[in-house]
């Protein structure tokens, strides 16, 4: 049990504090074998030697015990030299590449570090050179164990402090008197209470300090540890550098600061940057970084605040940025406002940008906290209080909110407008994470009203050449950014009732027009990362169409059409979705004439291609084109509705050949529903134009048929996707129809709608059941009401409107008892039974037991 040993060792370390000589405890009686019992001192030393070398936790307690024991007045005279000799021998003998060697070294190094921390300088000074020599000769900086490297870092800084005589650096920067007692002293009577504050007098003359040669070597090593790959080692070293520097004369200390600043080069690792930040913060906190140096330090910190080194498709640097915030925070505490004034604007902008736009939440929070600290202590940050009360710890937690809302709030302050916009357009638009790039583009959209002129004349010309550059991320971000800014400028022009051309020069419009052809010529759509190019160009198409850019009848339109068509066959649903989202705006703007009629050739060509693609043997192609047809504007469907519907219905129908294409069926149903929404209802209309009495039956038959899709594959009940889409479609279309003419829905259709929903409400998949329950109740209480509801009164009694909205339909214990009551109603009985039978055959125990229990079946 290491716990027992640990506690005993700690206890022994307390025993060591007894003030009188340990000899007094020794017995002078002979033992049974005729020898004296070993002296207490030797016995404790033996314990130390034994347990310093064990691999468990009690080694830590032993290190503490050893340090406390060896600095005893009596022990240090008798045992210290030989104990040190033993420890150094262990260090020399141990091989850190073996487990046991590591264990031995850890114990001894920990003991030595604590010894030099707790011991008196004059006792230990004579041993310091040899300990340093042995430690450095062991070349432990190459050791794999970060614990050993950390302990070496601790030991050598203590050795450094031993070599230097203790003093409070006279040259240290101090910010006013900080003792409460002294400050209140004039008025309060209780000055005598003041104790424990810093009373050591500073030594005035720097010249008198002797700096041994070893110090330089120690600092050199500390700087190596400062760029270690492990945080704990860097942190130890940063503290050490702070402590040792505090004891140095001003000149040498400034050299240390210089060396730390050298770490901030892009040849150095991210670890070096992080360590460097920690060291700067430590030095600042201790008043060792003099205000004269701020002019060198601030630019470095500004760089560190945005440090982000790409490593393939991720990056490192969040810890560097976090540490840079810590430096800003520490500086806020360290300096008088007048010292910081020249740097305030720069630091304020950088901190705000980090707190709003950093990818990582911890960095955003760190930056917000550092900003707050600066406002509170420096008081000179522009609009500080307004910003810190909005951009606070809680608000910066959500990244989307940061980009889309807080950014606008900040940019509305003139001091920050351009730095916010520039940061997005120069840095974040090229970020390695596509989510960040997309958010940046959206943010640029929202920021455009802050300074439309700047966006049009500075940002757009900057982004345009990047859209065909060599960096994939940058290209993607730039195209998205251009698209969003154009759209925002268009909205502004609209609201001011002026043409967009007033804001945009013809070169810009020309440039936008040529983006796609440049990408096409460079084969950027086909190369690595083509997916990003496709989605971003789809976004560009959508936004340009919405902004009514004057590209009508130009070659770019055909190019865009081909981009959209290619996306629709793409296997990634995100890319299909981007294309589908571009279709309504694109078709409406470029294929429909100002009088509302469609360009016939285009319509025919596109419809025939798309309807043909619906029959593809490739599921993705079917999905893409189904959804695309669903997104067609009304004019594009004009005169062709029957063809489109029957095409979609064919996709939605199960045949033996394409049984497994449940996703295609789902998307066809969704498309059918949205086509109905687009064309809307006219009772006696033309079935090639609108939903009417001639095609209602066909639509409902297709949807009700889809409710019977129970296809299974290795992913489980994939038919559920089709059924869910169909339920939603039944609800949406019924809702649409009853608002126009409820006589279009005959009772037998209504009955089937309700029955199939009830069956689904007793399904085994929670998600399906939940949707069915919600839609059933929505239709039950629909305004205006559906023309026929089977057993309306009874059903409403079982599912009263007030209760329905508190029911959790995804919880089986809520839904089964409720819906199984419908078993008593003849028109529902068959569907209820069907639903229950399917569920009781399911594999989820909770469902089987709820379904089989008496509540559902018993009393009928």
């Amino acid at each position: 049990m290491w716990e027992t040993r640990y506690i005993l060792l700690v206890w022994l370390s307390i025993v060591c504090l007894i003030p009188f000589d340990l000899k007094r405890l020794d017995s002078n009686l002979r033992q049974g074998d005729g020898h004296f019992k070993a002296r207490i001192m030797d016995r404790i030393m033996a314990v130390c030697k034994t347990y310093l070398l064990v691999p468990d936790k009690s080694r830590d307690a032993t290190a503490y015990l050893t340090s406390k024991f060896l600095i005893r007045h009596d022990v240090k005279q008798e045992l210290l030299p030989q104990a040190l000799e033993w420890m150094l021998q262990v260090l020399k003998d141990a091989d850190y590449t073996t487990g046991i060697g590591c264990t031995h070294m850890c114990g001894v190094l920990a003991a030595l570090a604590l010894l030099f921390k707790h011991g008196k300088r004059e006792d230990l000074l004579q041993y310091a050179p040899v300990v340093l020599r042995v430690t450095l000769d062991a070349k432990l900086e190459e050791c794999d164990s970060c614990v050993i490297r950390k302990l070496v870092g601790k030991l050598i800084q203590r050795l450094g402090l031993t070599f230097l005589k203790f003093r409070v650096a006279a040259w240290r920067y101090q910010r006013g008197s900080r003792s409460l007692v002294v400050n209140l002293g004039a008025g309060a009577a209780s000055v005598t209470l003041g104790a424990g504050s810093n009373t050591i007098q500073a030594v005035d003359e720097d010249d008198e300090i002797e700096v041994p040669d070893e110090i330089e070597e120690i600092i050199e090593h500390m700087l190596v540890y400062l760029k270690d790959k492990e945080t704990i080692v860097r942190w130890t070293s940063a503290k050490g550098i702070g402590r040792v520097t505090g004891q140095l004369p001003r000149e040498l200390a400034d050299d240390v600061v210089g060396s730390v600043l050298e770490l901030f080069s892009y040849q150095e690792s991210d670890g070096a940057w992080h360590g460097g930040c920690l060291a700067l913060a430590e030095l600042g906190r201790r008043g060792l970084l003099l205000p004269e140096r701020l002019k060198d330090v601030v630019p470095v910190i500004v760089k560190a605040l945005s440090y982000d080194e790409k490593r393939g498709n991720f990056s490192v640097g969040a810890h560097v940025r976090d540490a840079a915030c810590y430096v800003c925070w520490a500086f806020a505490r360290a300096y008088e406002p007048k010292e910081m004034v020249p740097y305030v604007d720069q630091i304020a902008s950088c901190l705000i940008i980090a707190s709003v736009f950093d990818r990582e939440v911890n960095v955003r929070r760190a930056a917000a906290a550092a900003f707050q600290e600066n406002v509170g202590r420096q008081g000179t940050f522009p609009h500080g209080i307004d910003i810190l009360t909005t951009v606070d710890y809680f608000a910066v937690g959500n990244r989307a909110r940061c980009y889309l809302e807080l950014s606008v709030f900040v940019a509305n302050f003139k001091d920050y407008t351009h730095s916010v916009i520039d940061h997005l357009a120069d840095v974040k638009i090229a970020h390695w994470d596509s989510t960040v790039r997309e958010l940046s583009a959206k943010a640029l959209h929202r920021l455009t009203p802050c300074d439309p002129e700047y966006m049009a004349s500075t940002v757009l010309p900057k982004l345009l050449p990047l859209s065909a550059g060599s960096d994939l991320f940058l290209r993607h971000g730039a195209i998205l950014g251009i698209a969003e800014i154009i759209h925002a400028l268009y909205s502004i022009a609209q609201s001011k009732d002026m043409p967009l051309e007033k804001l945009l020069s013809s070169e810009i419009i020309e440039g936008i027009q040529s983006i796609s052809s440049k990408l096409h010529e460079e084969k950027m759509f086909k190369r690595h990362g083509g997916e990003f190019m496709r989605t971003s160009v789809c976004c560009l198409i959508e936004k340009c169409s919405l902004s009514k850019l004057p590209f009508h009848g130009k070659p770019v339109i055909d190019l865009w059409q081909s981009v959209i068509d290619e996306c629709l066959t793409h296997i990634e649903t995100d890319i299909q979705a981007a294309a589908v989202s571009a279709i309504p705006a694109f078709f409406s703007e470029y294929y429909i004439k100002p009088d509302g009629s469609v360009i016939k050739e285009k319509q025919d060509a596109i419809l025939s291609t798309y309807l043909h693609e619906l029959k593809s043997s490739n599921q993705a192609t079917r999905q893409g084109h189904s959804l695309a047809l669903g997104a067609f504007p009304k004019a594009m469907l004009e005169g062709n509705l029957s063809k489109v519907m029957s095409g979609l219905i064919t996709v939605a129908t199960i045949t033996e050949r394409d049984e497994k294409m449940a996703e295609a069926r789902r998307d066809a149903i969704k498309a059918l529903s949205s086509v109905c929404m687009t064309v809307s209802v006219e009772t006696n209309g033309d079935p090639d134009r609108v939903v009417c009495k001639d095609n209602v039956k066909v639509i409902y038959e297709a949807l009700l048929q889809a409710m019977k899709d129970y296809t299974l594959d290795s992913r489980g009940d994939i038919g559920a996707w089709t059924r869910e889409a169909s339920m939603q479609a039944l609800h949406d279309i019924s809702s649409l129809i009853v608002k126009v003419d409820s006589s279009l829905l005959p009772p037998n259709i209504c009955k089937q709608v309700f029955c199939s929903l009830v069956q689904q409400a007793l399904e085994k998949i929670d998600r399906t059941r939940c949707l069915a329950g919600i839609l059933f109740t929505k239709l039950l209480y629909h305004r205006p009401p559906l023309p026929y509801i089977p057993h309306e009164q009874e059903v409403k009694a079982i599912l009263p409107e007030s209760a329905v909205f508190g029911t959790n339909f995804s919880a089986e214990s809520d839904t089964y008892p409720l819906f199984s009551k419908l078993l008593a109603l003849p028109e529902y009985a068959y569907s209820v039974l069907l639903g229950l039978v399917v569920s009781v055959g399911g594999i989820t125990e909770s469902i089987v037991s709820t379904v089989s229990c008496g509540q559902c079946w018993g009393h009928h």
Binding site: S177, R178, S179, A188, A368, G376
Partner: protein, 184 residues
Amino acid sequence: MGLLTILKKMKQKEKEVRILMLGLDNAGKTTILKKFNGEDIDTISPTLGFNIKTLEHRGFKLNIWDVGGQKSLRSYWRNYFESTDALIWVVDSADRMRLNDCKKELHSLLVEERLAGATLLVFANKQDLPGSLPAREIREALDLDSIKTHHWLIQDCSAVTGENLLNGMDWVVSDIASRIFTMG
């Protein structure tokens, strides 16, 4: 070990505490802070901004936040680095008219989760003014005895003369120390 851990450790080792100074306007918060800081108190206008000052007392580093005049205090309750250890609620003892407002504000503040467990010191300020209520009456007016969720103390004082300011701070420090730094 992330930076958060490093800073938590630092707070423990250097015995740093964070104190929020609150109260109705014109209660004398900034005057108290300036007095603490040994600054001139002749020119004080309503605090539009917010001030943080660090002072050393009995081995502790007190970070005192004066956030007077802020509409929303939420932003100050916590951030990345620190939580609030103590509240100093400053009362204008001569302002009988607004004692009821003062009570309401105080009690609504104390239910805030982020301030749970914080030590509460009430400074019955402006005792140097004629007609000011003594601490005993303020205690009743603010219904302090109903507060069970926080350790609290009411201390009469005068920011202008500095009287009893130190006593109040002594109590705050020892109360926080007994809660947080028992091992220290």
